[in-house]
């Protein structure tokens, strides 16, 4: 149920310490605009998959990206943590600002960016060589050594956040691969949360899961909304309606419509949005 109304979104407040400080700060306290996407286009080789997408993604809310297969949903969120550029022959133009800072700037290290902007993938994919505990710690271990007591605390906190702690606390040393699909996906979410990101990107996180596991992940998204900015790609419109406050509809790489989820689903402004959400195509 979408009981809470979303406050209107203002343009990105300038990042503290950035060059654009002259711009007056908005006088009322709003949720921080976490992402400001400006004229983003993306290509794989010759094929253009995103066309001039401009959009604001507010902080501490869930934004759902919907659209038919191949509309550029995944590419869009993969541009938000610079995963897009890992694909050979991938190109991009336009800007993505994270709290006012251009994430594609020369001075930005994509490795550090990805620690702030975590990602959960379509298929649950715990690291096969690692136990449950090591999977949670993987992101931290990649980058530094941890003391055991600290590590235990991180593992418990992340697993509790991912609502998995009760189920696995007595078998942390067992393989992450041995869990059920839904548990594996929550383990992957815990793994992403353990590095303490600000943003969580989810690329169809439930498409490989059964309805019960899906419901658990959705509950989890609700719980995480207060602390993280979440962007979720989904092909399931009911899911978008259930979990998000804002919805973005992409079609053939173009932004067709975006706005509050309630409004977009009940009173779409664009004919194509209406056709899509009423199931006329897609």
């Amino acid at each position: 149920m979408l009981t809470e109304r979303v406050r209107s979104v203002t343009p990105a407040p300038p990042h503290r310490g950035s060059a654009i400080r002259d711009v007056p700060l908005p006088d009322t306290a709003h949720d921080p605009v976490t992402f400001s996407v400006q004229r983003l286009s993306a290509w794989f080789g010759q094929q253009q998959v995103l066309r001039d997408v401009s959009i604001e993604i507010p902080g501490r809310q869930v934004t759902a990206i919907i659209g038919p297969s191949g509309c550029g949903k995944s590419t869009f969120i993969r541009c938000l943590n610079r995963m897009h550029e890992l694909v050979p022959a991938a190109r991009r133009s336009g800007r993505v600002l994270l709290e006012g800072e251009d994430i594609h700037a020369r001075t930005v290290d994509p490795v550090l960016l990805r620690r702030r902007v975590g990602m959960v993938f379509q298929k649950p994919n715990p690291f096969p060589t690692m136990s449950i505990r090591d999977n949670v710690l993987a992101g931290l271990r990649l980058t530094r050594q941890l003391r055991r007591s600290k590590a235990d605390a991180v593992v418990e906190r992340a697993l509790r956040q991912a609502a998995l702690w009760e189920e696995v606390s007595d078998r942390l040393a067992q393989p992450g691969i041995g869990l059920s699909g839904g548990q594996q996906q929550r383990l992957c979410i815990a793994r992403s949360l353990a590095v303490e990101p600000d943003v969580l990107l989810m690329d169809e996180p439930c498409s490989a899961l059964d309805p019960i596991a899906t419901a658990r992940i959705e509950d989890l998204i609700h719980a995480l909304r207060d602390e993280y900015t979440i962007v979720i790609v989904t092909h399931n419109m009911q899911q978008a309606a259930r979990v998000s406050q804002r919805t973005v509809f992409l079609l053939m790489g173009e932004l067709v419509e975006h706005g509050e989820t309630d409004q977009l689903f009940t009173a779409p402004r664009d004919r194509r949005t209406e056709d899509y959400i009423t199931g006329k195509f897609g």
Binding site: N81, M83, L86, P88, V111, L112, R114, R115, G118, M119, F121, K123, N125, F127, P128, T129, M130, S131, A138, G139, R141, L142, T143, Q174, P175, G176, I177, G178, C188, R191, S192, V195
Partner: protein, 291 residues
């Protein structure tokens, strides 16, 4: 609606099925049988010569007193040295080509060339080793020159097997590791390599086994055949089991044939032992994997 298949066509299909299985079984049994015959024959021939004394004696003019010690020790040294040189180079090259190098025409060309190199006759590597290591670099006819030559010989196999193993690691795992904020090296070191490791080892074991059995390149590089001492360090002259065997086989006296047979048994056992050890180590490391 499709009509039900006629009875004789079903029978035909079953017959075909059986014939195919029989053919496959034959393809398994024939080489196995030949191999068993060969090994049995060698064991019978080697008969009385296999003893502790044979393992611990130096070659001699008198067949009954000749032993295989320098060859055995030389083979062990050479294998160890070859693996030390070839494996880091080969795995490193594979990691670069798979994980870092750009995919393009050049990469494709390199790939084809490596595959071709794996098919070059070993004697050619011997000639290359002679010219390059023995003469140009001036290593003389030493253990090191032999090991370098052997390393060249097995490098293409190590590289190809390692690349194959790295390719089996799903990209989704690499992506996840990148998404967690890993640098390229961290992703390779902590996620990709541990997963590919057993495959890399399997390929390496096969490659090193090949080096144990090779004689041709070493004849050219100059692994002397009569050596009455053990190699003292990597600059020492040396011989290896296959060359000692080759030497005995080429003698006219019947008694040396027995020695050769015994030498073959020792070579086979050495191979088996080294492979067994490598596989044991691999499986022990694999226990930490969960699929």
């Amino acid at each position: 609606m499709s009509s039900t298949p006629r009875r004789d066509s079903v029978r035909n299909r079953r017959l075909l099925e059986r014939a195919f299985v029989a053919l496959c079984l034959l393809a398994v049994l024939l080489p196995l049988g030949l191999l068993a015959l060969l090994i049995g024959r060698v064991l019978v021939d080697a008969g009385g010569r296999l003893s502790w004394g044979f393992l611990t004696s130096y070659p001699s003019r008198r067949a009954a007193q000749a032993g295989i010690l320098p060859g055995l020790v030389g083979s062990l040294y050479l294998t160890g040295l070859t693996a030390t040189i070839a494996l880091p180079l080969g795995v490193g090259a594979a990691v670069y080509l798979e994980e870092y190098g750009r995919r393009g025409r050049l990469a494709h060309l390199i790939e084809i060339n490596i595959a071709n190199l794996a098919g070059v006759p070993s004697i050619i590597y011997g000639l290359l080793g002679l010219e390059l290591f023995v003469r140009t670099v001036g290593m003389e006819r030493s253990l090191l020159a032999g090991a370098c030559t052997m390393a060249l010989l097995i490098l293409p196999i190590v590289i190809m097997a390692s690349r194959e193993a790295l390719r089996t690691v799903p990209d989704t795992l690499r992506e996840s590791a990148f998404a967690l904020g890993g640098s390229h090296w961290q992703v390779v070191r902590q996620v990709v390599l541990p997963l590919a490791f057993p495959g890399i080892l399997t390929g390496s074991i096969l490659a090193v086994s090949r080096a144990i059995g090779e004689a041709a390149p070493l004849i050219v590089v100059g692994a002397l055949t009569y050596i009455a001492f053990l190699p003292r360090g990597i600059n020492s002259p040396f011989t290896v089991l296959p060359i000692q065997i080759f030497n005995w086989v080429s003698r006219p006296q019947e008694a040396f044939m027995v020695n050769a047979a015994a030498g073959i048994v020792v070579l086979l056992l050495t191979l088996l032992l080294l492979n067994g050890l490598a596989i044991y180590l691999r499986n022990r490391m694999q226990k930490r994997r969960y699929w």
